[in-house]
C-alpha cells in the first residue's frame, strides 16, 4: 500500500504542474493564486529574491533582464548547441563562459548584484515553488517526486533534470517520459487493450510514442521526437515577422529592444491562441515612442506560416511507425498532448498521419502531470486504481562508443526496453598501460562526431601487464530513468577499475551539492518556518477583517457578551501571533473564526440587502481577495 507521499511533476517549457493521487484518481494541486499552471518563468525582484510563476511574468515586460523563460531549452546543453536558440531567446549567457562548461545565465541589471544561474538551478526554483504548493496543500513536507521529461531527451538533459530536483530538495524517484505519462493518465480510466499513439507537441519539445496497452502493462514500442520543436518556434516566427514589419513600415529597429520584443511576444502568443477559435485576429502592440504595430492575421495566413514548423513532426512520426513495424491503420487510438495540439491545423495533420480522429477529451495541459501522479502512486506501492499497472519504457536514442577511425559502434539500440545493458571488452595497446579511455556517445549517426558526446571515461589503475593481456569488462547500463551508468572490472585480476567520468555537458556531484536550495535535513525546519509565516499572514487577514467588521452596521447587532468574547479571542490571537508556534496560531485563528460566525452572517445579510439597494458586493466586501483559505470568507460562502 502506498505510504509515501510522492508527487508527480510536469516540468514544462512554458508551464509546470504538480499533481498527486487523491484516492483513486490523480488531481492537480493548485498554487496559492488558485491556478493549476505555474508558468515556467523565474525572475529576480528588486531585492534579488527569486519570484516564480505568474508573479514573475510581469518582470518579463517591465525588467526583461531580471527574468527568464523557456529554460528547459537549455537543460543539458553546451554553449555550442545553443547558438541557434540565442538568436530567438533573450537568454543572456555569462560572459566568462568556457567551452565545455555548464551554461550560466545572467539575471539582474548591469550594476553590481548581477547573478548567474545554471539551467538546473533555474529549473530548481520552479520545482521548489511546486514543492511548496504541494506542501501547503498537504500541510506536511514533500521530499519525493516523479518528474516528467520529453521522451526524446538525451542522457545529459535527463541528468540535468535530476540535478534540478536535487537542488530543489526533492529526491527524484523516477524520470518518466511525458508521452508515456500521458498514456498512464489516459489508460487509467479506459482499462483497455490496444495500440495507442501519443502525439505530444508542447511549448518547446515534440515527442511521438507508440505504446501497446495490455492487461495493465503500458509497453512503449517506439519513440521519436525533436527536443527543439514546439509552440516557442511558432511564437518566434511571428515575432520575426512583426520585427521585420516594424523595421520596414515604421523604420523602427526593435531587435535589440528587449521590452518591445517582449510586448510583441505577449501579443503574438495571444493572437496564436485566439486563432485556434477565431477566423482572424488583430494585433495591436504599443511600441516605444508612442507608435503602434497594427496587423490583421487570418487563420489561413497563420496556417500557411506555421506549416513548415508543424511539418517537422511528420518525419519523427513516420520513423516511430517504421520502428514499431506498424502501419497507420494498425493504431487504435491517437492521444493529443501539449498546448500546441489545440491548433486546428495540428489536429488536421495528426488525423492525416494516422488516418483517424485524435482524442481531444483530455486537457492537453494537465494530462502529463496527472500521469506523473499515477506513476508516483505505482512507485509508492500502488493502490486499487493502479493495481497491475506497469510501465515498460524504452531508450529513445542508441548508445554507442567511439572506435578506431572515429566510427560509432552502437551497443544498445534505440527503442530497447529499459533498464538495458551491454558489456564490452577492452584491452591494452602497450606494455604496462594503466589507463584506457572510452568515449560514450548517443545518437543514430555513423560517425562519432555526428553523435552526441555523453562522457569520456578514463579506466584507471589497470594492473601492469604485457600489451593485450588485460581484459577489461566494461558494463554500460541504462536505468529506468534513461540515465547511463558505467562500471568496469579487469577480469584477470578481478580488480574493479576506477572510472573517472567527465560528463560532456553536466554538473559534477560536488557542484550539485553546493547548489542545493533546501537540503533534505532542513526540510522539516523550512516547512515549519514557512508554516509560521503563512499562519501569521492568515492571522493578519482575519484581524483586518475583524477591524472592518467592527465598523460595519452588523457589529451593532451583536450582544455585549458576544463582543466581549470576540475581544478576548482577538487578544489571544495577537498574543500567540508573536510566538513561533504555528499550530497555536492556527488554533487561535480557528477560535476567532468560530466566534465571529454570527458577525459574518450578519454582515452577509447587510451585504445582501445593500446589494438589493443597488450597491455592489465589492462595497460591502469583508476582506482581501481569494488568497489562501480565508477564515471569514469561508463563512461568507457557506
Amino acid at each position: 500500500m502506498a505510504t509515501d507521499r510522492i508527487v508527480g511533476i510536469d516540468l514544462g517549457t512554458t508551464n509546470s504542474l504538480v499533481a498527486f493521487m487523491q484516492g483513486e484518481s490523480p488531481v492537480v494541486i493548485p498554487g496559492d493564486d488558485g491556478s493549476n499552471l505555474v508558468p515556467s518563468v523565474v525572475a529576480l525582484d528588486q531585492n534579488d529574491q527569486p519570484v516564480i510563476g505568474n508573479a514573475a511574468r510581469k518582470y518579463l515586460t517591465e525588467t526583461p533582464e531580471r527574468a527568464v523563460y523557456s529554460i528547459k531549452r537549455l537543460m543539458g546543453r553546451g554553449v555550442d548547441d545553443v547558438q541557434e536558440e540565442l538568436k530567438f531567446f533573450p537568454f543572456r549567457l555569462a560572459e566568462d563562459l568556457q567551452a565545455g562548461e555548464v551554461l550560466r545565465i545572467r539575471l539582474g541589471g548591469k550594476k553590481a548584484g548581477e547573478k548567474t544561474f545554471t539551467p538546473p538551478e533555474i529549473s530548481a526554483l520552479i520545482l521548489r515553488q511546486l514543492k511548496r504548493n504541494a506542501e501547503r496543500f498537504f500541510g506536511a513536507p514533500v521530499t519525493k517526486a516523479v518528474i516528467t521529461v520529453p521522451a526524446y531527451f538525451n542522457d545529459a538533459q535527463r541528468q540535468a533534470t535530476k540535478d534540478a530536483g536535487r537542488i530543489a530538495g526533492l529526491e527524484v524517484l523516477r524520470l518518466v517520459n511525458e508521452p508515456t505519462a500521458a498514456s498512464l493518465a489516459y489508460g487509467l480510466d479506459k482499462k483497455q487493450n490496444g495500440i495507442v499513439a501519443v502525439y505530444d507537441l508542447g511549448g518547446g519539445t515534440f515527442d511521438i510514442s507508440i505504446l501497446k496497452l495490455h492487461d495493465g502493462i503500458f509497453e512503449v514500442i517506439s519513440t521519436n521526437g525533436d527536443t527543439h520543436l514546439g509552440g516557442d518556434d511558432i511564437d518566434n516566427l511571428l515575432i520575426t515577422i512583426a520585427l521585420d514589419d516594424t523595421l520596414g513600415d515604421l523604420g523602427l529597429d526593435l531587435r535589440r529592444n528587449a521590452e518591445a520584443v517582449q510586448a510583441i511576444r505577449n501579443a503574438v502568443i495571444e493572437a496564436k491562441i485566439a486563432l485556434s477559435s477565431q477566423p482572424s485576429v488583430k494585433l495591436d502592440v504599443e511600441l516605444p515612442g508612442g507608435k503602434c504595430y497594427l496587423r490583421e492575421i487570418t487563420r489561413e495566413q497563420f496556417e500557411k506560416l506555421i506549416q513548415p514548423i508543424i511539418d517537422r513532426t511528420i518525419g519523427p512520426c513516420k520513423q516511430a511507425l517504421k520502428d514499431a513495424g506498424l502501419k497507420p491503420e494498425q493504431i487504435d487510438e491517437v492521444v493529443l498532448v501539449g498546448g500546441s495540439t489545440r491548433i486546428p491545423k495540428v489536429r488536421a495533420l495528426v488525423k492525416e498521419l494516422f488516418h483517424r480522429e485524435p482524442h481531444t477529451d483530455l486537457n492537453p495541459d494537465e494530462v502529463v502531470a496527472l500521469g506523473a501522479a499515477v506513476q508516483a502512486n505505482i512507485l509508492a506501492g500502488g493502490s486499487e486504481a493502479t493495481e497491475n499497472m506497469l510501465l515498460l519504457d524504452v531508450t529513445p536514442l542508441s548508445l554507442g562508443i567511439e572506435v578506431a577511425g572515429g566510427v560509432t559502434d552502437k551497443i544498445i539500440l534505440r527503442n530497447s526496453t529499459i533498464p538495458a545493458s551491454a558489456t564490452q571488452f577492452y584491452t591494452t595497446q602497450v606494455d604496462g598501460q594503466a589507463n584506457v579511455a572510452i568515449h560514450v556517445l548517443q545518437g543514430e549517426r555513423e560517425l562519432a562526431k555526428d553523435c552526441r558526446s555523453l562522457a569520456r571515461f578514463d579506466l584507471k589503475g589497470i594492473p601492469s601487464m604485457a600489451a593485450g593481456m588485460a581484459r577489461i569488462e566494461v558494463k554500460f547500463l541504462i536505468d529506468a530513468n534513461g540515465i547511463l551508468h558505467v562500471s568496469a572490472r579487469e577480469q584477470r585480476s578481478g580488480k574493479e577499475a576506477e572510472i573517472q567520468v567527465q560528463p560532456s555537458y553536466g554538473l559534477t556531484d560536488e557542484q550539485v551539492e553546493g547548489m542545493i536550495l533546501d537540503s533534505f535535513d532542513s526540510a522539516e525546519e523550512d516547512f515549519r518556518r514557512r508554516q509560521v509565516i503563512e499562519a501569521r499572514n492568515e492571522a493578519d487577514t482575519i484581524l483586518a477583517a475583524l477591524e472592518k467588521g467592527k465598523k460595519s452596521p452588523a457589529w451593532g447587532h451583536l450582544t455585549t457578551d458576544e463582543k466581549k468574547k470576540i475581544a478576548k479571542m482577538e487578544k489571544a490571537l495577537i498574543a500567540v501571533k508573536a510566538e513561533d508556534d504555528y499550530q497555536a496560531v492556527r488554533k487561535a485563528i480557528d477560535a476567532l473564526n468560530q466566534g465571529t460566525t454570527r458577525l459574518a452572517e450578519l454582515m452577509m445579510d447587510t451585504a445582501v440587502s445593500t446589494a438589493l439597494k443597488g450597491k455592489t458586493m465589492d462595497e460591502a466586501d469583508m476582506g482581501e481577495g481569494p488568497t489562501a483559505p480565508h477564515p471569514m470568507a469561508k463563512a461568507e460562502f457557506e
Binding site: T3, D215, L379, A380, L390, P419, A420
Partner: protein
C-alpha cells in the same frame, strides 16, 4: 531449469546470477522458440523484477531489481529476434561473429580501404550491376536530376533483394530444425561429435553472412533512394 530471480515464498527480488539468456528463461539452447510463450514469461517476470515495483524495497533489493530487470530485458530482446537469437547462440558456441566483422571494419577504416566483403557467388553479377546503377543515380541526384526509369529499375532490384532476404530467413529456420534435433539427441544421451556440431555452426554462419550482405545492400539502396 530457470535461474532463481525472486523468492517464491516472499516475492522479493534475489541477487542476479550470471547466466546466459537461455538459462535465464529456463530454456534449452534450441533455436526454434515459441515467441508467444517467451513474451508471456517476459511480462510475468517484469511484474516481479521491474524497479518500479521494487521502489519501496531496501537499497540492496533495488540494486538487484535493476540488475535483474536489465538482464531480463536484454535476454528478451535478444531471444525474440530470430537473427539476434541465432547470433547469440553461435556466440555461446564460441563463434566470434561480431568480433570478426568489427575487426574487419576497424581495419578497413584505419587503412582507408573499403571493407572487403565476400560476395555470395550467386549474387556476383547482380551486385555488380546494381552498384553501377546506384553510382549513376547518385551522380544524377547530385546534378538535381531524376531518371524515373532508373529509379524504377533499382526499386525492382531492391524488391528482389528483399525477397532473397526473406528466403534466407527460411533457409536459416531450416538449419534451426537440424540444430535443435542435434541438441535433442544429445539431451537423450546420444553423443554428438564435435565435427557435426562445427559443421552445423558453419552452415548457420554462412546463411547469416549472406543475409547480412543483402541487408547492407538494401540499406545502401534505401540511402540513395531517400537522398
Amino acid at each position: 531449469m530457470r535461474a532463481v530471480h525472486f523468492c517464491e515464498a516472499c516475492g522479493k527480488v534475489q541477487p542476479p546470477v550470471p547466466v546466459d539468456y537461455f538459462t535465464f528463461f529456463g530454456l534449452p539452447r534450441k533455436l526454434n522458440l515459441d515467441v508467444t510463450a517467451l513474451d508471456k514469461d517476459f511480462y510475468e517476470l517484469s511484474r516481479k523484477l521491474h524497479p518500479d515495483l521494487n521502489a519501496q524495497a531496501g537499497s540492496k533489493e533495488q540494486e538487484w531489481s535493476l540488475q535483474q530487470s536489465s538482464l531480463l530485458n536484454d535476454a528478451h530482446r535478444t531471444l525474440k529476434d530470430p537473427i539476434k537469437r541465432t547470433q547469440y547462440l553461435l556466440k555461446l558456441e564460441g563463434v566470434e561473429l561480431e568480433e570478426q566483422s568489427k575487426t574487419a571494419t576497424e581495419q578497413a577504416r584505419s587503412t582507408g580501404q573499403l571493407k572487403k566483403q565476400i560476395v555470395p557467388p550467386d549474387l556476383l553479377e547482380e551486385v555488380f550491376e546494381l552498384n553501377m546503377q546506384l553510382e549513376e543515380l547518385r551522380a544524377q541526384k547530385k546534378m538535381g536530376e531524376d531518371d524515373p526509369a532508373l529509379i524504377e529499375e533499382i526499386g525492382r532490384q531492391k524488391f528482389e533483394l528483399e525477397e532473397k532476404q526473406e528466403g534466407l530467413l527460411h533457409e536459416l529456420q531450416g538449419r534451426w530444425k537440424i540444430w535443435d534435433g542435434m541438441i535433442q539427441r544429445e539431451h537423450n544421451g546420444q553423443p554428438v561429435s564435435e565435427e557435426e556440431r562445427r559443421q552445423e555452426r558453419d552452415k548457420m554462419v554462412d546463411v547469416l553472412n549472406r543475409r547480412n550482405y543483402i541487408r547492407n545492400l538494401v540499406r545502401d539502396v534505401n540511402e540513395v533512394l531517400e537522398q
